[in-house]
Amino acid sequence: MAAETIRLDVARYRPEEDAEPVLQSYEVPLRPDWAVLDGLAHIKDHLDGTLSFRWSCRMGICGSCGMDVDGEPRLTCGTFLAEYGAGPVRIEPLKGFPVIRDLVVDIDGFLAKLSSVRPWLVREGEEPPLTAEYAQTPAQLDAYKQYSMCINCMLCYSACPVYVLDPDFLGPAAIALAQRYNLDSRDMDDRFDVLNLEEAVWGCTFVGDCTRVCPKHVDPAEAIQRYKVTAALRSVLPWSGR
């Protein structure tokens, strides 16, 4: 008996020869515990060594393997082929980013944005000696913990129509990570200068798809709306600065 298979329609873009991406079809075994990523690895190992894609930890924590699967941004290591019935499954690079090759997209823009929000603990005065930690209660930890869970997988950017239409938009993950530090009891900055901008929180029209696609439940939409309230209060009330 022939083993069951499923067809994967994979976007190929070879800049030396293709003017735009084209779909190429492959038949791969359909096994109950195979993720989309296992299917792609099967193609690369056994059918076509020229297919390029990024992956590493295959446990949903390194953030490398985000792709567009049947029109939805997903981590391919945690998306199972069995979800797609008899198939076929369409696998494309994440929307909203320039495509370097096949399923590999350019995320350098995000890294520049991340740097711009000062994603580190801002302190004033001299650093205390390395003999004791800063105190932080579990409740203070809970105040920002959710936003510290971002794995930089870029699914939220791909789902965000504002970002896709305007690549200058600071975007969900960068703002959530700024809030991760703003809400940290050890931090002394509020990043008002980089967040209170038309291309930053005010660019967000609150579609909410960033939150819907986030594989780590960071809820960037919430982070952005909360900062809108913070920024509005700070603009209106002179004493509400930190």
Partner: protein, 137 residues
């Protein structure tokens, strides 16, 4: 930390997808979003209509306003505006927990409680207004 991309590196041209005019039609969640944004027009109409009413009261031309308001197309428009405003208000109140995170002694008040509180408050204010208006007539 900054990225090093030494000059003189000829890079093969990355593919940039052309802008998609129908982006909102590609996903249900985006279509609902655009629909919600469009209700703002009717919310604006409701405000303009109320201003017209206030103007008529001030000028003493309420009869002419009433005649205008009774026209079938105007009634239809206002029914549509009422539906749109209600939709806008309900979704607005449902989104509120995203902007206001309430913590009581470390315990985070769940979204449904904030939403429920909002709707309850909305109903209470509406009931009070209805009581005041209906009592005088």
């Amino acid at each position: 930390m900054t990225t090093a991309r030494p000059p003189g590196h000829e890079e093969a041209r990355p593919y940039v997808r052309p802008r998609d005019r129908w982006w909102f039609a590609r996903r249900r969640s985006l279509a609902v979003f655009v629909l919600r944004e469009l209700t703002s027009v009717l919310v604006a109409w409701t405000v303009a209509y109320l201003l017209l009413l206030l103007g008529a009261v001030a000028d003493g031309t309420t009869e002419r306003f009433a005649a205008l308001a009774a026209r079938p197309w105007m009634v239809a428009l206002n029914v549509l505006a009422l539906a749109a405003t209600a939709f806008h208000a309900v979704t607005f109140l449902n989104l509120a927990p995203k902007a206001t995170v309430v913590r009581l002694d470390g315990w985070r008040v769940p979204a449904w409680m904030i939403q429920g509180g909002n709707h309850t408050a909305w109903l209470a204010v509406s009931a009070l207004l209805a009581y005041l208006v209906l009592r005088s007539s």
